[in-house]
Symmetry: C2
Subunit: 156 residues, 2 copies
């Protein structure tokens, strides 16, 4: 199973880039990871709704029909780290070939993206900067895979 | 009101140090912030229970009797970012002089620390590395204060 971590906008903060790269590198040993940052959509003169529309076009253009899309959304389903590991296991058992976890922009997702998605995952009820969620997400995907392998990284 | 962010062990990862410092610097303009990292307790030959005991001694030694202690704990109360802002407002309204938000070590807190605390706050149901929670926490404390000031940093 391929896991694509898809987000909108290049990570600007160097410290976050380093942290994200660190976990993406580690993850390569566990899974087929595609870490993708789509180009920024210029906010110039756009309303939040228009911005979300443009971002939606870009996101949908970067999905194949066999991509199973989950959105990172604070109103989604909450998981413990072990439940998140079980989520990946379940997808593998179901024969999912390509899983996409998508992080939206500063204003969230357009309705067209919500319609394309099969589920929503909440990392926290708190609103995080979308760049920071990337770091949080790659760490949790890494953690999930160490849990599936029975490694010692995770303590309950 | 003074807000002390207290954690155990020096942050090892440079990228996290940078991110934490960035938000601590910004926070200085909003609140009296004391960001404190207590020295690491050597894990050599200690069981997790013993390690938590040593950490507890260190934490308790760094609290004054007027410190109102809250623990960061994945089994604590969940807040949205707006509710977290309201939490700080409520403490200020109640005349709290010194608030402490404490992040434990890799195995969580000893019972003596739980007994000293007045509440538990969960940033996420997911288990994060305790160094990463520091970054997440300072960002949320910063976000809470921008919300209280009516600034534009936070979008719902």
């Amino acid at each position: 199973m391929t896991i694509r971590l898809l987000s909108i906008g290049k990570t600007q903060n160097d410290y976050l880039k380093k942290g994200i790269q660190l976990y993406v590198d580690r993850l390569q040993h566990y899974a087929r990871i595609e870490y993708m940052e789509l180009p920024d959509v210029s906010q110039n003169g756009l309303t939040p709704a228009q911005l979300k529309q443009r971002e939606a076009e870009l996101i949908l253009k970067n999905l194949r029909s066999d991509h199973l899309l989950f959105l990172l959304d604070e109103f989604g389903k909450s998981y413990t780290s072990r439940e998140f590991a079980a989520f990946f296991q379940k997808q593998m058992n179901a024969g999912t070939k390509a899983l996409v976890l998508c992080i939206g922009g500063a204003y969230g997702f357009d309705a067209t993206v919500h319609q394309r998605a099969v589920g929503k995952i909440s990392m926290s009820q708190m609103t995080m900067p979308h760049e920071l969620i990337r770091l949080f997400l790659v760490e949790q995907v890494y953690r999930a895979h160490t849990i599936l392998k029975g490694e010692k990284y995770h303590h309950d």
